[in-house]
C-alpha cells in the first residue's frame, strides 16, 4: 500500500468526479461552477503529477500499472491539453446551450480513463481504461441532443466503437490463450516463438487501436463524428484520445511484442501509408472545416505511426514529439474556430472564412501560421515534427515510406493553401465578433507563439522526450 502515493493524481480525479456529481445535483444552477471546479481540479492533478518523483520507475497492483517516464510525460501532455480545451471552450458550451453539470464531469471521466490507458501494463487494465474513456466520449459526442447531426454522430461512434472494442477484446483473449497471461511483461517472456493465433491476436488489437486513432482503413467514423459533435467535443476527439491510444500503441508494440517486430511492422507501415495518402487526398473536396480537420488528423496520425513503424527508440521518440506538436497545432486551429462567432452563432464552413484577413488581421495571421505549420512548411513547428519522423524513418532505410510521406505532404499542402487562399485572397464578408473571453485568447496566443517560436530552441522538447525510455 505504500505505493499508493504514485497514483494520487488518478485517485484525486476519481474523488473529484464523485464529489462534483453530488455537488452538482444538490446545488441549483451550478453548471458554471462545476465547470470551473473541473478546470481547477485538472490544474491540481497536473500539479500532483509534476510533483511526483521523476526518478521513479515502478509498477503497482501486481505489475499491472506502470508509473514511468513515458506515463508521466503523456499524462502531463494529456492534462495540459485537457486544461486548454476547457479554457478555450467555456464560452462555446454556454452559447450552444450544452452547459450542463454532466458535461465537465464526463470530460473528467474520459481523462481518467485515458490516464489508466496510459499507465496500463496489462490487457485487462488497458481495456478498462479504454472503455471508461469511450463510454464518456459516446455521451459527449451526442451531448447536443436536440441536434440531429450530434445525436447521429454519437450513435455512429458508439456502434462502430463497440464493434472495434469487440475485435480488440477478441484479440486480447487470443493472446491470453496463447501466452497464458495478460501482463505485458509476462507475455514477452511467454511468447518466444511465433504462433498463428498470437499473430491474429496482435492484428485484432491493432485494429482496435487503429480505430481509436482513426487510422485508415478504420477511419470511417471520424469525419462524421468530428462534424456532428459540438465543436468543444470535437477538440477533445482531436486531441485527447490520440495521446492515450498512441501511448498504448507504444507500450503494446514495444514491450510484449518487441521481439515479433516483423509480425507487426508491415501492418503499421500499411496503416501509416494509407492514412497519410488517404487523409491528404480526401480532405481536398471538403467544405466544412471540422470535417476537413478530421481528414487532416487522419493524415497526421499516419506520420505518427510512421515513426512507430521503425521499431527503434528514436522512432518512438519522434512519434511522441510529433504528437506533442500536433496537439499544439490543433489546439490553435480550434481556438480560431471558436472565434468565428457572430450573433451567438458559430460558423464552421470554409466559405465563412472568405476575406477574413481584412476584418480580423490578427486572427487570420494565427490561422496562416497554424495552417502552414500543419502543412509542414519550415520554419514552423509542424516542419520539425515531420523532420524528426523522417530522420527516424530514413535511419532505418525505409525510403519508400519517407518518399510517400513527403509526397503526401505536398498533396496536403494543397488543401491548407486553399484555406489560406480563401482567408487572404478572396473578397471579404460580414465581420465576426471580436470580443472573446480571456481563456480562449490565451490559448490561441500561447499555441501560436509556440508554433512560431519553436525553431528558436528546438532542442527543448526533444531533450525532455529523449529521456523517456520505453523498455
Amino acid at each position: 500500500m505504500e505505493n499508493l502515493q504514485l497514483i494520487i493524481p488518478e485517485l484525486f480525479i476519481s474523488i473529484m468526479i464523485m464529489f462534483l456529481l453530488i455537488f452538482g445535483v444538490f446545488k441549483k444552477n451550478s453548471s458554471q461552477l462545476v465547470y470551473n471546479l473541473t478546470t481547477v481540479s485538472l490544474v491540481a492533478a497536473l500539479a500532483l503529477i509534476i510533483n511526483l518523483d521523476t526518478q521513479i520507475q515502478s509498477s503497482l497492483f501486481n505489475n499491472s500499472y506502470n508509473i514511468d517516464s513515458l506515463a508521466r510525460f503523456m499524462k502531463i501532455l494529456l492534462i495540459l491539453s485537457g486544461i486548454f480545451v476547457m479554457l478555450s471552450s467555456s464560452k462555446y458550451i454556454q452559447i450552444s446551450k450544452i452547459r450542463k453539470i454532466e458535461y465537465p464531469i464526463l470530460i473528467l471521466c474520459s481523462i481518467l480513463g485515458m490516464m489508466v490507458m496510459i499507465s496500463s501494463n496489462d490487457l485487462i487494465v488497458f481495456y478498462m481504461g479504454l472503455e471508461l474513456q469511450s463510454l464518456a466520449l459516446y455521451v459527449l459526442a451526442s451531448f447536443n441532443r436536440d441536434n440531429l447531426l450530434s445525436t447521429e454522430s454519437g450513435l455512429k461512434y458508439f456502434v462502430l466503437s463497440a464493434l472495434s472494442s469487440g475485435l480488440l477484446l477478441y484479440g486480447c483473449s487470443l493472446i491470453y490463450g496463447f501466452s497464458e497471461t495478460t501482463n505485458f511483461n509476462q507475455i514477452m517472456v511467454n511468447t518466444k516463438e511465433i504462433e498463428y493465433g498470437l499473430t491474429f491476436g496482435i492484428v485484432f488489437i491493432l485494429v482496435g487501436l487503429a480505430f481509436k486513432i482513426s487510422a485508415v482503413p478504420f477511419h470511417m467514423w471520424a469525419p462524421d463524428v468530428y462534424q456532428g459533435s459540438p465543436t468543444s467535443v470535437t477538440v477533445l476527439f482531436a486531441l485527447l484520445p490520440k495521446i492515450a491510444a498512441l501511448t498504448v500503441f507504444i507500450r503494446f508494440l514495444y514491450i510484449p511484442f518487441y521481439e515479433l517486430g516483423d509480425q507487426w511492422q508491415m501492418i503499421i507501415i500499411f496503416l501509416s501509408i494509407a492514412s497519410m495518402v488517404f487523409g491528404a487526398v480526401a480532405a481536398i473536396g471538403q467544405k466544412n472545416l471540422k470535417r476537413l480537420i478530421a481528414y487532416s488528423s487522419i493524415s497526421h496520425m499516419g506520420y505518427a505511426l510512421a515513426g512507430l513503424s521503425t521499431g527503434t527508440t528514436q522512432g518512438v521518440q519522434s512519434s511522441i514529439t510529433y504528437i506533442t506538436i500536433y496537439l499544439v497545432m490543433n489546439l490553435a486551429f480550434f481556438s480560431c474556430l471558436f472565434m468565428l462567432k457572430r450573433n451567438d452563432e458559430y460558423y464552421e464552413n470554409i466559405d465563412d472564412l472568405s476575406g477574413l484577413s481584412k476584418n480580423h488581421p490578427l486572427l487570420s495571421l494565427s490561422l496562416l501560421v497554424v495552417l502552414f505549420s500543419l502543412a509542414g512548411i519550415p520554419p514552423l513547428a509542424g516542419f520539425f515534427a515531420k523532420f524528426y519522423i523522417f530522420v527516424a524513418v530514413i535511419n532505418e532505410k525505409m525510403y519508400f515510406l519517407a518518399i510517400v510521406g513527403l509526397l503526401a505532404t505536398v498533396i496536403a499542402a494543397f488543401y491548407y493553401l486553399r484555406i489560406i487562399k480563401i482567408i487572404y485572397f478572396d473578397p471579404e464578408k460580414e465581420k465576426f465578433e471580436s470580443k472573446h473571453n480571456l481563456g480562449l485568447k490565451f490559448t490561441l496566443l500561447a499555441s501560436t507563439f509556440f508554433i512560431l517560436a519553436y525553431f528558436i530552441y528546438p532542442s527543448g522538447i526533444v531533450d525532455i522526450i529523449s529521456q523517456i525510455n520505453i523498455n
Binding site: P379, F383, L407, K421, F425
Partner: protein
C-alpha cells in the same frame, strides 16, 4: 571579429518587420512604415557592403563563420561566407531597398503587410546564401515560399490564385526529395555541416541518387526546361516588386545551390550527369528563346528570357571549368540586375496604361525619352552587348563551354543571337514606331523615384560591363578552390581519356 555580422544581416529585416507589425496601423502611418522598411533595408545594404570590404578575398576558407548549437547533437546553426555567397548577399541587399522604393506606385492596398512580407523574405534569402548546414539551408530555402506565395496571391493580377498555387506546389514538390537526400547524407556521413562534408566527401556509390534528389529541387527553382512553366505564370501575376525579387534573387538560389552543393558535395555524380544538364540547358536556351519571340505580354517575354539566361548559368556551372563557373556566377549577378531592371521598366508603363500587351504600346520614344534611354541600356544588358555586365557572363560561359564541347558551345551561341532578336524586337515595338494609341499619348515620363531606382540599376550594369574585376576578384579564389578540392580538373581529364 566577434560581432555576429551575418546573423545581424539575417535578423535585421525580421526585426524591422516586427517593428512595422507592432506599430498601430492607420492610413497616415503607411508612409512611416515605408520609411522604416527603407531604413532597415538600406542599413542591411551598408552592412553587407561593409562585409564585402572587410572580407579577405585571398583566403580560401569560409569567413565570418558563426556556429551555435541548435537541434542538440544533430544540427548546428552555422553560417559563413566565401567569395561566391558574399556576392549574392550583396545582390539581395541591393535589390530589396529598390523594391521598397517602388511600392508607392504599385501597391494600392495593405501596404504595411506587403512591406512585412518583403522584409521577411529578405531574411530568408540572405539565410539561404550564407547557411553552411544543409538543414539550415533547407529551412531558409523552403521558408521563402510562404512570403512569396502571399505576395503573388494577395497583390497579384487576375489569375493570381492559380499562379500562386502553381508556384508553391511546384517548388514544394521539387524540394521534398532534397529533404530525403539531406537526411540520408546525415546517416551516411554523420553530419550535415557543409564544411565537414567538403572534407569528408561522400562515397561515390551514393552520389548519383543524392545528386538527382538535389537536382529535382534546384531544377524546379532555376527553372530548367521542362519544369519551368510556373515561372511565366508567377512573373506575370506577381506585383512588380514580387517579380523583381523572384527574377533577381529567388532564381539565383538554385544556381547557387548547384555550385555549393551539387558540384561541391557530389563531384563524381555531377560529372556523370553533365550530358543531362547540357541537354536541358541547351533546350532551355534555344526553345525558350523561340517561345519568348512569340510572346505578346511583356512580362511573359522577360520571364521566358529569364529561363534562357538561367540556361546559360546551368551550362556554365557544369562545364566545371574556372571560366565557366565564374561566368555563371557573373551571369547570375548580371541577370539579377538586368531582369530586376526590366521588370521595373514594365512596371513603369503598366502603372500608366494598366496593360502589359506589347501591341498596345508604340512610339514611346517621343513622349518618354528618359524612359527610352534606360530601357535601351537594360535591353542591351539583357542581350549581352559588350560594355554591359551581361556580356562578361555570357562570354565566360561560352569560353568554358568551348573548352569542353564545341558543339554545345556553338548551339549555345545561337541562343545569344536569338536573345538579341527578341529583346531588340521588344524594344522596337514598344519604344519606336508610330504613336497610334490615344491613351499612350497621355503617358508621362519617369517620375523622380523611378529615375532614382532605374539609374541605380544602370550604374552597376555598365560599371561591371567595363570593369568586372571587383566581382571576378571576389569569386576567383573560391571557384579555384572548389575545382581543386574536388579534383574537377582531374576528373575531367580522366573522362576525356588524357
Amino acid at each position: 571579429m566577434n560581432f555576429p555580422i551575418l546573423s545581424s544581416l539575417i535578423l535585421l529585416p525580421t526585426i524591422g518587420a516586427l517593428f512595422i507589425f507592432f506599430v498601430r496601423s492607420s492610413n497616415s502611418q503607411y508612409q512611416s512604415s515605408k520609411y522604416v522598411a527603407l531604413f532597415i533595408t538600406l542599413a542591411n545594404f551598408f552592412l553587407s557592403l561593409y562585409l564585402w570590404i572587410v572580407f579577405d578575398k585571398s583566403i580560401v576558407n569560409f569567413q565570418f563563420v558563426e556556429e551555435r548549437e541548435w537541434i542538440s547533437g544533430f544540427v548546428n546553426y552555422k553560417v559563413g561566407v566565401d567569395g561566391i555567397s558574399i556576392l549574392f548577399i550583396l545582390l539581395t541587399t541591393f535589390i530589396t531597398p529598390i523594391c521598397v522604393i517602388t511600392v508607392n506606385a504599385t501597391i494600392k492596398n495593405r501596404l504595411k503587410d506587403f512591406l512585412i512580407a518583403i522584409l521577411i523574405l529578405e531574411t530568408f534569402m540572405i539565410g539561404v546564401f550564407c547557411s553552411l548546414d544543409l538543414v539550415v539551408f533547407y529551412l531558409f530555402f523552403e521558408a521563402g515560399l510562404i512570403p512569396m506565395f502571399l505576395i503573388i496571391g494577395i497583390w497579384g493580377g487576375e489569375r493570381r490564385v492559380y499562379s500562386a498555387f502553381k508556384f508553391f506546389l511546384y517548388t514544394l514538390l521539387g524540394s521534398v526529395l532534397m529533404l530525403v537526400a539531406i537526411i540520408s547524407i546525415y546517416w551516411i556521413t554523420g553530419t550535415t555541416d557543409v564544411i565537414k562534408l567538403y572534407e569528408l566527401g561522400i562515397d561515390a556509390k551514393y552520389q548519383n541518387l543524392l545528386w538527382l534528389a538535389f537536382f529535382s529541387s534546384f531544377a524546379v527553382k532555376t527553372p530548367m526546361w521542362p519544369v519551368h512553366t510556373w515561372l511565366p505564370d508567377a512573373h506575370v501575376e506577381a506585383p512588380t516588386a514580387g517579380s523583381v525579387l523572384l527574377a533577381a534573387i529567388l532564381l539565383k538560389m538554385a544556381g547557387y545551390g548547384f555550385i555549393r552543393f551539387s558540384l561541391g558535395l557530389f563531384p563524381d555524380a555531377s560529372l556523370y550527369f553533365v550530358p543531362l544538364v547540357y541537354t536541358l540547358s541547351l533546350i532551355a536556351i534555344i526553345y525558350t528563346s523561340l517561345v519568348a519571340l512569340m510572346q505578346e505580354d511583356m512580362k511573359k517575354l522577360i520571364a521566358y528570357s529569364s529561363v534562357a539566361h538561367m540556361g546559360f548559368v546551368t551550362l556554365g556551372i557544369f562545364t566545371m571549368t574556372q571560366q565557366g563557373i565564374e561566368g555563371s556566377i557573373f551571369q547570375m549577378i548580371s541577370h539579377g540586375l538586368v531582369s530586376a531592371a526590366l521588370f521595373l521598366c514594365v512596371g513603369v508603363v503598366y502603372d500608366r496604361l494598366h496593360t502589359r500587351l506589347i501591341n498596345r504600346y508604340g512610339g514611346l520614344v517621343s513622349i518618354m525619352p528618359k524612359y527610352a534611354i534606360v530601357f535601351m541600356v537594360f535591353t542591351l544588358g539583357a542581350l549581352g552587348l559588350p560594355g554591359t555586365s551581361g556580356f562578361i557572363g555570357e562570354f565566360l560561359v561560352l569560353m568554358g563551354a568551348f573548352k569542353k564541347n564545341i558543339l554545345v558551345a556553338t548551339i549555345a551561341s545561337l541562343g545569344v543571337i536569338l536573345g538579341a532578336a527578341y529583346m531588340l524586337w521588344l524594344y522596337k515595338r514598344i519604344i519606336f514606331g508610330k504613336l497610334i494609341n490615344e491613351d499612350v499619348k497621355k503617358m508621362v515620363d519617369l517620375k523622380r523615384f523611378e529615375i532614382v531606382t532605374l539609374w541605380l540599376l544602370v550604374l552597376p550594369i555598365i560599371f561591371f560591363g567595363f570593369y568586372p574585376e571587383p566581382l571576378i576578384n571576389s569569386i576567383e579564389v573560391s571557384v579555384a578552390n572548389m575545382i581543386d578540392m574536388n579534383d574537377l580538373d582531374k576528373i575531367n581529364k580522366l573522362a576525356l581519356g588524357d
